[in-house]
Each structure stands twice: as C-alpha cells, then as structure tokens.
Symmetry: C2
Subunit: 143 residues, 2 copies
DNA sequence: GGTTATTATATTGTACACAATTTAATTGTA
DNA sequence: TACAATTAAATTGTGTACAATATAATAACC
C-alpha cells in the first residue's frame, strides 16, 4: 500500500470532515450570530458559569492566543463578561451575561437540527463519538 | 440526555481530534518546512502533477480564498510553479518543481511516524478512516 | 523582605479558512 | 458578431489557530 496516497490517509478525512461539519453548523449558528468555537464556549458556560480563561482552554484544547481575542469578541456582543479575579489578579473570570444565558433557549434545537443534517442514525453517531473521544483522550495523555 | 452538554456532542471530539492530530504532524512536517495543508497539496501533486487550482479545491474541499495564498507561499519556497493555462487563461496550472518532487523522498516516513505517535493499531485505524470517509462522502453529496 | 521562578493572560506574527465581491476569460445565444 | 451569463482565480475582510514572546501577579526560597 502506498502510504503517501491521499486516499490512504486517516488524517485527511478527519480534517475535511471536521470542516464540513462546521460548515453544517454555520447556517444554524448564524441565526444566533455565533461561530462554532464561540458556540463551544457557550456550551461550556451553560454547564459551568464563572470559569477562568485557562479552564476554557483546558476543556476546548485552545490556548490564550486563540481564546483572548475570541472572548473579547463575545464580550463585545454582550454575551459574557471578563473580569480579573480579585483573589488572583492574573486570572480572568469569564461569566455569562443575562443575554448570554438567555441565548441557551434559542440554541436548544441546534443539536437536533445538526444531527438531522448529518443524516446518520443515533447509534452510529454515538459509536463515532466514543471512538473519537477515546482517540482524543489517548493523544492528550501522551502530550 | 441533555443535548447541549459538551460531553454529548459528536462534533466537538471531531473538531478537537482534528486539531490534535494536526499538532502531531507538526514536528514531522517542520523538518520539511511544511504546514499540514501544504503537505496535503503535495500528497495530491505527487499523485497527479499539473492540476488546476480548482482541481485541488475539489479534492481537498478548500476554496480559492484559502488556496491562492497557500499556493503562493509554496511557490515562494520553490516547491511548485503557478502558470496560466494557455488553453484557458482563467485557469492556473499548478506543477511540481524538481525540488517539490524531490521532497517526496524525505516525506516517505511521515505516515509511518505519525501512525506510531497515534498509538492505534492498523485495523482500527483503517476502520476509522472508512467510517470518516463514508460520512464525508454523505455530507458532500448533500451539499 | 528581597530575589528568583512560576503562572495566567495578553500580544505579535504567520498561516489557514471561508463568505462575499471583483476581475478577467470563456461560453452561450440572439 | 455583440452581449449577457458563466466560470476560474484573486482579493478583501473577519475569525480562528498556534508558536513565541511579553507583561504582570503570585509563589518559593534564601
């Protein structure tokens, strides 16, 4: 087998599928004036409000170079607040605004709508998620 | 099940894994002074030389807004040439230079090295590739 | 207590990624 | 053959990504 053939790469379909799925999210998230990474930050905050920038980075595997400008844009849109932690002035606490919290209701149908556009049954979808998550955990441990 | 929980998203592990795998490629490709998308273009050209920008876009699912500057950088590095197609001056033909062709030899061990760092057997890797490719084909058909 | 090391975020610079628009060449058609 | 429609790249503008560095605050240590 020619390992340099594009068709024989695992990583290409991973890279391409990731972008294509993000593209499926785009029309759904545009209605909420959100990008996909911004939506991920909100998913996280709707679960656990009041977290530091590095907490978000740990969960989403993104660094401050990505998050700082992204969070500033979300602050501009009035979705979150960014305040220095008085107990440790190095840390910035990210907190939902009322408007950011309220957006959850409008996002409720996003996962279902997306799954519909994926055209994949529920079981194979869960199986894929577990498989990807397992590989992701494996890689993260190594690093 | 709460569909808005980060842990219940399929798309997040897809997004995160794609970036993590690209990060695994980085040290391998740095030796060749390549980024991952540039490496993909070379994989394609090593298979089929002399293609148009839109041919590359069709294969890699990237548009001219991404490819034009990327290909210009590859031209700067002396890996490819960009020439207008005399038969149709709208098209730009991308062709490997001798240097670009020669780089293939140095890249021969990249797939093997990467697979080693993925720490995943050959069969599950192929299974994952087929699964991702199937889903990718499905989505691309829809669009 | 002053100095050094560490930590958290911000900044800078480079490289994608993609929507929207522009430019130039080709095709289709009256 | 003119002229509108289409097509292929390029350009513009916005938003990630991430390496490398800078800045400021805290912790560790003498």
């Amino acid at each position: 087998m020619d390992k340099l053939l594009l068709a024989n790469q695992v990583c290409f379909p991973l890279y391409a599928l990731s972008r294509q799925v993000t593209a499926l999210y785009r029309p759904l998230l545009e209605k909420l004036d959100l990008t996909y990474p911004q939506y991920l930050v909100l998913l996280l905050l709707w679960e656990t409000d009041r977290v530091s920038v590095s907490d978000i980075g740990d969960r989403l595997l993104l660094d401050s170079g990505t998050l700082t400008p992204l969070l500033k844009r979300m602050e501009q849109k009035g979705l979150i607040s960014r305040t220095r932690n008085p107990a440790d002035e190095r840390q910035v606490t990210i907190q939902l605004t009322e408007s950011g919290r309220a957006l959850q209701e409008q996002a409720l149908n996003v996962p279902t709508d997306l799954q519909a556009s994926l055209n994949l049954g529920n079981e194979p979808l869960i199986a894929l998620r577990v498989q990807l998550q397992t590989l992701l955990d494996q890689i993260s441990v190594i690093k």
